[in-house]
Amino acid sequence: MTTTSASTARNAGQPPEDRLAAPLAILLWVVVLAALTYGVVSTLQKVVELFS
């Protein structure tokens, strides 16, 4: 059995929310890391003013 078909077989009996859990969690990692980066960079721009 190939990896894809094994994965398909494993997912077949799962409810939709379980099949989506991993992709959604990875998407959420991207969202929270992007948001944190935005926050940290914006703050560092202000911090530069303190020492300039």
Partner: protein
């Protein structure tokens, strides 16, 4: 019939990796962390309602008090309902709070802002704050400090994101003035609803008996770490719980003492610092607060919770003392010391769930955490009260500059010493409070033997 939101429906399927849960926790904490950026709305709200800073400040106070109360009273419900239902409840309360506040602004009814952002939103804060904590500890029984530090870092980071975002929204909708408040509230409410709901739907609890690959739960008590479990009802009957309450209260009071007055404080200490530079200082403290949550909490997994708090409180007291004695000698010294104090403040918040798990086991750690957070509410009132009252009295007595803060700095040293002594008094919980073994096989317990199941 089990609902889609029930705890039973959130049990992770075999093969689910534990690192898929932290983003759900971060999504919630980054969203509710917006409360630390509420001050961005203060001046626009004062202008809009033609009100005072005190009247608008009440919005924030209600929210923090409701955070503590809802965490304390709803902690057991959160524990039993599981992360999906409780995160969704937090998402609804938090975003509905913004929408009700927006109606209040649009209809010029300040009481609706109190009700919306303060009361309803505050309940969302309390539920949201504790909702991922016990699940994180269950996924990371080998590194609970790292796991809770990661999520609670999000609470500190939420303000870093919300502050520039809010400024941008106010400019977009109302040219930076008060006209854009209602639309900004609606936009933030909708963004947080989407992000937190996404977090709720991805949340998974480990299957009963799951443990990280290659890790076995300790079978004997080791130092402060117990292998037994204590219920929330019994935990609040123990001396160690209340000593830890005092520890958290003292650590938060001392941190808020700086946080509350950061901008005017640095300008009073150094006449060369203007408002723009002071804003940079506030930003730096927020970064220290956020970083401390992750770094110090993770460190506590290695050196132990008690030693970690000895550092927060002992080194924190020395930092405060140095600021009081030599704070005016150098801007760099002042900034380094206050940043250290704020990193300990954040670290104290993030390490406390792991400390509770060490003392009381994992059975109801979320509910116990909720009850402990009343210390935060109390400190949220005491910290600013001490600093503001003393600064007002010193101003009336003719003092100015750094002299306005000398007395409160020495008081904070004393507060931290009290916390240090309370931490020294924390001992493992007496066996009479432990749950019998039958209860300890409940699937909510984290310290179970290693079995097959989800992988790292």
């Amino acid at each position: 019939m089990t609902s889609f939101l029930d705890r039973d429906r959130t049990v992770a399927a075999p093969g689910y990796r534990r690192w898929l849960f932290p983003p759900a926790a971060l999504a919630v904490h980054l969203s509710i962390g917006q409360v630390y950026a509420f001050s961005v709305f203060k001046i626009p709200l004062v202008e809009h309602f033609d009100s005072s800073l005190t009247a608008i400040g009440i919005v924030f106070s209600i929210a923090i008090v409701m955070l503590g109360l809802s965490a304390a009273f709803l902690g057991t419900w959160v524990e039993r309902s599981g992360p999906r239902k409780s995160m969704l409840a937090a998402a609804l309360c938090w975003s509905v709070g913004f929408l009700v506040a927006a109606i209040g602004v649009a209809s010029d009814q300040l009481w609706l802002v109190y009700l919306g952002y303060g009361f309803i939103g505050g309940i969302g804060l309390g539920i949201g704050y504790i909702s991922p904590v016990s699940t994180l500890i269950k996924w990371f029984p080998d590194r609970p400090g790292l796991a809770t530090g990661l999520a609670i870092m999000g609470f500190g980071g939420g303000a870093l994101i919300a502050s520039p975002l809010t400024t941008r929204l106010l400019e977009t909708y109302g040219g930076g003035g008060s006209d854009g408040i209602a639309a900004s509230f609606v936009t933030l409410g909708l963004i947080y609803l989407v992000v937190m709901t996404l977090g709720a739907f991805t949340a998974r609890v480990p299957a009963p008996g799951w443990a990280p690959e290659g890790w076995t739960a300790p079978t004997e008590h080791h130092g402060m770490r117990t292998t037994a479990n204590v219920t929330a009802a019994n935990a609040i009957r123990t001396r160690s719980f209340w000593l830890l309450w005092v520890v958290l209260f003292c650590n938060v009071t001392a941190g808020i003492g700086i946080l509350e007055q950061a901008s005017p404080m640095i300008q009073d200490f150094f006449s060369s610092v203007d408002e723009v530079a002071a804003a940079g200082f506030v930003g730096l403290l927020s970064l220290a607060n956020m970083t401390g949550r992750f770094v110090w909490s993770s460190t506590s997994d290695v050196i132990g919770r008690k030693r970690m708090y000895m550092g927060y409180l002992g080194i924190g007291a020395l930092c405060y003392l140095t600021v009081a004695i030599a704070g005016t000698s150098s801007i760099a010294l002042f900034v380094v010391l206050t940043a250290a104090i704020l990193s300990f403040y954040g670290g104290g918040f993030a390490t406390v769930p792991a400390y509770l798990k060490d003392l009381f086991g994992g059975l109801e750690v979320g509910a116990i955490h909720g009850r402990l957070l009343t210390a935060w509410s109390a400190a949220g009132v005491a910290g600013p009260l001490i600093v503001n009252k003393i600064a007002d009295n010193r101003t009336a007595a003719g003092f100015e500059g750094a002299d306005l803060y000398q007395t409160s700095l020495y008081i904070m040293v004393g507060v931290l010493v009290v916390g240090f002594l309370a931490n020294l008094g924390i001992k493992p919980v007496d066996e009479r409070y432990h749950e019998p073994e039958a209860t300890a096989t409940d699937d909510r317990v984290v310290d179970l033997r290693s079995t097959e199941g989800a992988r790292r």
